[in-house]
Amino acid sequence: MSVKTAQSIESFVALLKRDLLLASRHFSEVVQPLLFFTMAVMLFPLGVGPDAELLRIIAAGILWVAALFASSSVLDKMFREDFEDGALEYLLLSPTPLPLLVIAKCLAHWLTTGLPLVFIAPLLGLLLNLSFEAVPLLVLSLLVGTPTISFVGAVGVGLTVGLRRGGVLLTLLVLPLYVPVLIFATGAVQAASQGAHAYGHLLILLSMLVLATTLTPFAAASALRISAEMN
């Protein structure tokens, strides 16, 4: 392994560790999307009525749409603070390739915002009368789908981080990009709840994740450089 590679890996790990450490010191920010997710899901039975059969049918959709909103609500934080306190300059001026550092940021963001949703989702699924057979698929679809949300979102964050009020614009930019994830993820859960095979849906979700992890870091890196130029 060359010195350059070792150096890059070291930078990657240091950035990941830094962001996780920061998240652990701002624990309330980690809990917020989780509470948002829980609240949003719990409001639906109140809105559509306590018809157990109806809830069972729409459970997958509710859970996934709520998960999308919960993740988008905290997307902005990915680079906002770094941009404002100047830490982003250290990323841009690092000898380590920027796309690699973007992957570290996305990974840290997913571990602190997406992964917690995966853990609480089964409980909320049961609350919505989701069938037992569909619960593992719900967890799997979230496990594969939420990192895609973080990676695709990073491009939008990179583009809007230089704007003073980029939050809403960011949501408008990235939500349409999540449509394929939403379709195949809810498709997987629904297929499983009807006793059909869901592997096809899962594989498509997985291929979207592969595409997102390999392509979006480059787009996000370019977007960040453009945003920094305007500063």
Partner: protein
């Protein structure tokens, strides 16, 4: 063009928000030389510094490091560059040592906690090593960022207003460190509107 200059700026135009701040700026820097950038507020010092560091694109003209344009060898150039901008990048929820550790790691370097501790002692932050940056004053936070001058190995330093919010003893400390870097054939480009208590090899007035 001087024969042994390793950093060159040729016919550079610097613009910001469709306004041309600098037109046809050329200068060379040789190893061991100090270049001072002066100018009134709004004259484009910071924009020029950010362009020299490679944070802004060069639209007209050329900036070369060791004979090669910086945009063609970004990673090599940034390996050799230490840039200190207006905002220090300090994370308020991390301790002084944690901050310096991630900054060094992103520069592809590392130092032991003991070394970082001794440098913090040197810059007047002894006893604050494990304090969160949030609890420090503006001047102390600036000193944490300045500690990078002692910890990071780099050939070229681009320092944008390094004396902002530090006291007289801090200014002397930085000055001595800059002199030491120059004596090791390092290269320093520094912008300040304070008096520079040392002789610059060239002064560029914007």
């Amino acid at each position: 063009m001087e024969l042994n200059s390793i950093f060159q700026c040729q016919k550079l135009n610097v613009e910001r928000d469709d306004r041309i701040l600098l037109d046809n700026l050329s200068f060379d820097c040789t190893p061991g030389s100090l270049t001072q950038i002066t100018g009134a507020n709004g004259s484009g010092k910071t924009t020029l510094m950010r362009t020299l560091a490679g944070l802004r694109p060069v639209t007209v003209g050329k900036i070369t490091w060791q004979g090669i344009p910086i945009k063609e060898q970004r990673e090599v150039y940034h390996q050799d560059l230490l840039f200190l901008g207006h905002s220090s990048g300090i994370k308020l929820s991390l301790t002084c040592i944690e901050n310096l550790q991630w900054m060094l790691a992103l520069c592809g370097q590392s130092q032991t906690k003991a070394t970082i501790g001794s440098v913090l002692q040197l810059v007047g932050l002894g006893g604050f090593e494990s304090n969160l940056a949030r609890t420090l004053s503006a001047g102390q936070r600036r000193r944490v960022a300045l500690a990078m001058l002692w910890l990071r190995q780099a050939k070229i330093w681009i320092l944008d207003e390094p004396y902002t919010s530090i006291d007289v003893s801090g200014v002397d400390l930085v000055k001595d460190k800059v002199m030491e870097h120059l004596s090791h054939r390092g290269l320093v480009i520094l912008s300040t509107h304070h008096g520079l208590n040392m002789t610059a090899d060239q002064v560029i007035n914007l």
